[in-house]
């Protein structure tokens, strides 16, 4: 997400599992446990795509805090009828970009497509954790 566009590798194979961090609470729902469309809204300042990781640790690497993460297989993303591509960021090991998602805050046409695509991505994603990753130990009181 710098000023220079990242160098992208080849599209990942369909059997690869990728991870999306929940940067805010609204990305996921606890009851019932599910990923919400918001998790895949692309803001204007993420021009290169939506950030994913090749592991839970990579997914949360650039966040100061998180509310868990979800997983999805690349094949399911590529299987959606929206022409999305999942590519590794060659400048940042472990970082993966989901490319082709329209920006939500744009004209009405783009906002509509962004909403539909985000909801489709949320439906094929599986919640792996609803808590901060990696788990944090709570020290005993009076220690």
């Amino acid at each position: 997400m710098g000023t220079n566009p990242p160098r992208l590798g080849d599209t990942l194979a369909d059997d690869v599992v990728v991870y999306r961090a929940f940067a805010v609470k609204g990305y996921r729902e606890r009851h019932p446990k599910r990923v919400r469309a918001m998790a895949y809204y692309r803001p204007p300042d993420h021009a290169d795509g939506i950030s994913l990781g090749d592991s839970p640790s990579s997914a949360v690497a650039h966040l100061s805090r998180n509310f868990g993460f979800c997983s999805v297989t690349v094949g399911r993303i590529h299987g959606l009828p929206y022409g999305l591509k999942v590519c590794p960021d060659l400048d940042d090991p472990g970082h993966i970009l989901l490319c082709g998602v329209p920006c939500l805050i744009a004209n009405d046409d783009e906002r509509g497509r962004a909403s539909e695509i985000a909801n489709a991505l949320a439906k094929i994603s599986t919640v792996e954790s609803l808590e901060h990753y990696p788990p944090q130990e709570t020290p005993p009181p009076l220690s």
């Binding site: 940067a23 805010v24 609470k25 609204g26 919400r36 469309a37 918001m38 809204y41 803001p43 204007p44 100061s64 509310f67 939500l104 805050i105 009405d108 046409d109 906002r111 509509g112 497509r113 909403s115 539909e116 909801n119 489709a120």
Partner: protein, 140 residues
């Protein structure tokens, strides 16, 4: 009479506590969430723009136009880059009221057909009451 308000401060009122239930608790929940939405840090990434007070007031006016009020029971309130989003989902149907700024309302409607194909439309509207027939369709 003093009581705690929804954001933790004290509120003084001349009326007894809960003399009449104006809204069922499930509906009141939506307005309570809206009232506190700019202060809930868990809803924002660091440095993320928060909704303006005028946008929150506009969202409240939109929600008050929803008839019947029980449509609000299942409404979810979210924020995204200064916008307020109110969403509903039922079976294969989804409705989102996007409130990007004061006096702006965009109604998004999505449905999945029996063939599995998903369709949507998005309309900018001036009158908040335009959402009522859409919610009626959602609950049909």
């Amino acid at each position: 009479m003093s009581t705690q308000n929804i954001c933790g401060g004290s509120v003084y009122t001349a009326t007894p506590v809960a003399p009449i239930e104006l809204f069922p608790a499930s509906v009141e929940r939506v307005f309570n969430r809206l009232a506190c939405i700019a202060n809930d840090d868990d809803l924002y990434e660091p440095g993320e723009e928060r909704p303006l007070a005028d946008t929150i007031a506009w969202a409240r006016r939109v929600l008050l136009k929803i008839v019947p009020g029980y449509y609000l029971r299942t409404a979810e309130i979210d924020v995204f880059r200064g916008e307020i989003h109110v969403s509903w989902e039922r079976d294969s149907r989804r409705v989102v009221a996007f409130l990007p700024s004061p006096d702006k309302l965009k109604i998004y409607v999505e449905w999945t057909k029996l063939t599995g194909e998903t369709e949507h439309f998005l309309r900018s509207v001036d009158d908040p009451r335009a959402i009522n027939p859409v919610l009626k369709w959602l609950y049909t």
